[in-house]
Amino acid sequence: MANIGVYIELKEDKLKKSNREVLGFARRSGRDVTAVIFTNNIVPFLEDLKGVKQVIQVKGDDLAYQPDIYADTLAAVIKEYKLEDFLAIYSAQARDLFPRVTVRVGNASLVNDCLAIDLDNHQATRPVYAGKLLCNYKIEDEFRIFTIRQNIFPVEPAGAAGDPQVQAYNLVKKEVKSKILEVIKSASKKIDLVEAEIIISGGRGIKAKENFPLLQEVADLLGAGMGASRAAVDAEYATYDMQVGQTGKVVNPKLYIACGISGAIQHFVGMKTSKIIVAINKDPEAPIFKKADYGIVGDLFKVVPLLKKELEAVLH
């Protein structure tokens, strides 16, 4: 059986949460798993890497993400260790990195945003048309690279599984064509919508940029991310990084609260895999109510403050 490789993506030297989803899937396959991680200090990650057979620890003077260096290194590792099936999270970094890795490996194909993968039959299912439909692909290639959608695959602790063998590997430094000069951090500490467990979103019904703090107060109570519909972004009530939908982010939290969002298909496809959808809208005919698990027909400016009050009462 083919060896499985897993790319462990770090963010500010910490394990991104969804790595556990990828690792869980790889371990369940029953095959030998090789994890690839770019770090000079492996110790903090060993607990999460239990049950992995070997870890390729890529070391270097400067391990800050650079697409060309990471792509050349990963391509070299994949070929050298014959990691015929290779898995990663479908993250912002993966979108930038894995197309380059695919070409540099050669004889490789890439399937992004997988919802299900059948390693034995070289098949994967992924959403197309922003999830209006699902497509099952068969991959007929020597190397198969899959990135998985976050929050879909279950996380399981490695339990009593053994420690991996760790092998050091030197960063491959060839030509740097696209050079990241700096990472400009957002001034506000926003919650990553793609990883968020709860999202509260505002639409056209929010009426003004100044009204978003109303939702933010509820978001803060729940530790939720803040989203918006395209209508709210186009009206400049919210910024594009908050947009959920076909031309924005695709999210799947366990709870999605849509406030003043009519529920156009463009928006719906971006959040429909949420476990529970709550709609608050004053228009009883709004299409969002057909899609929501729970709906309240009412003015969001009345309902949302009540919701905040009720949550404060029950959660504390």
């Binding site: 993250s91 912002a92 979108r95 930038d96 894995f98 197309p99 380059r100 695919t102 070409v103 399937v111 992004n112 098949q123 959403p127 048309y129 922003a130 999830g131 209006k132 439909l133 699902l134 497509c135 099952n136 692909y137 068969k138 991959i139 007929e140 290639d141 064509k177 050079k179 990241i180 000069l181 700096e182 990472v183 951090k185 001034a187 506000s188 926003k190 709860i198 729940l222 594009y240 990084d241 031309t247 709870l255 298909i265 529970i276 959808i277 709550v278 109510f289 057909k290 698990d293 729970y294 309240i296 009412g298 009345k302 309902v303 009540l306 919701l307 009720e310 949550l311 029950v314 959660l315």
Partner: protein, 256 residues
């Protein structure tokens, strides 16, 4: 100097889609548009041309005959020329990227290549970076700001929640555009009239030296995702409804 813009024709975002023969969508009654992210790519190229009139903006696309209308729309916005690689059906990202790269190489004098960051039909999110790899160009994706600094290009690319990477690239390079980069213009009536008179350059895969193509990622089955059952509208005065909602979220749905 040529500034290339790779575009794709896709179903409008509002389109509801039906499956035909298990593997493809029923194309009847679909309104086709330029992929929204590609419109940002076209706009950025046209903005450059306004500053440097010697630039020629060349659109490149691959697809069946219907994609001519996407090229016409792009020409109407102000692009100078359009290349159509005519194929019977859409092709997988690697083959598409190879064909687009070859067409660009053949046309030559590459100043810059703009594309959308992804097409909203197959959402494969890879074709543009493949084009850059095949052409040996530096590339950035999900770009929301573009500028020149001397003979280099500086772009900003959105990563997680409002954070950005600032990236430097030598020319020529490829830029995968995202929303926020600019506001695409509407075609003027004069632009539409002018676009009608421009002859499209037609290419074939054979002409590009791609005779035997083999798909490695084969779409086997297209299905509709399971429908969500109709939910519950919580009745009553707002105070009561909110109390009930929170109770249901905690006790029935168990998400709080």
């Amino acid at each position: 100097m040529n500034v290339y813009v790779c575009i794709k024709q896709v179903p409008d975002t509002e389109a509801s889609l039906n499956i035909k023969e298990g593997k493809r969508i029923n194309e009847e009654n679909i309104k086709w548009v330029i992929n929204p992210y590609d419109e940002y790519a076209i706009e950025e190229a046209l903005k450059l041309k306004e500053k440097k009139p010697e630039i020629k903006v060349v659109l490149v696309t691959l697809g069946p005959v219907r994609v001519e209308s996407a090229l016409r729309s792009g020409l109407a916005m102000g692009a100078d020329e359009a290349i159509h690689i005519e194929v019977a059906d859409s092709l997988e990202p690697q083959i598409t990227a190879r064909a687009l790269a070859k067409a660009i190489e053949q046309e030559g004098d590459i100043g810059l290549v703009f594309t959308g960051k992804q097409a909203i039909d197959d959402d494969a999110y890879q074709t543009h970076l493949f084009i850059a790899e095949y052409l040996g160009l530096p590339a950035a994706t999900n770009v929301t700001a573009f500028s020149f600094q001397g003979d280099k290009v500086i772009v900003e690319r959105e990563i997680d929640e409002g954070s950005k990477e600032k990236i430097e690239m030598a020319l020529p390079c490829l830029v995968g555009a995202s929303k926020g980069l600019n506001t695409p213009r509407y075609a003027s009536l004069m632009g539409i009239m002018k676009a009608k008179k421009i002859a499209l350059k037609k290419l074939t895969l054979e002409g590009l030296g791609m005779k035997d193509i083999r798909h490695k990622v084969v779409a086997e089955k297209l299905v509709s995702p399971p429908e969500k059952p109709q939910g519950k509208i919580i009745q009553g005065e707002p105070e009561e409804a909110v109390k009930e909602l929170v109770r249901l979220l905690r006790e029935e749905a168990k998400v709080l």
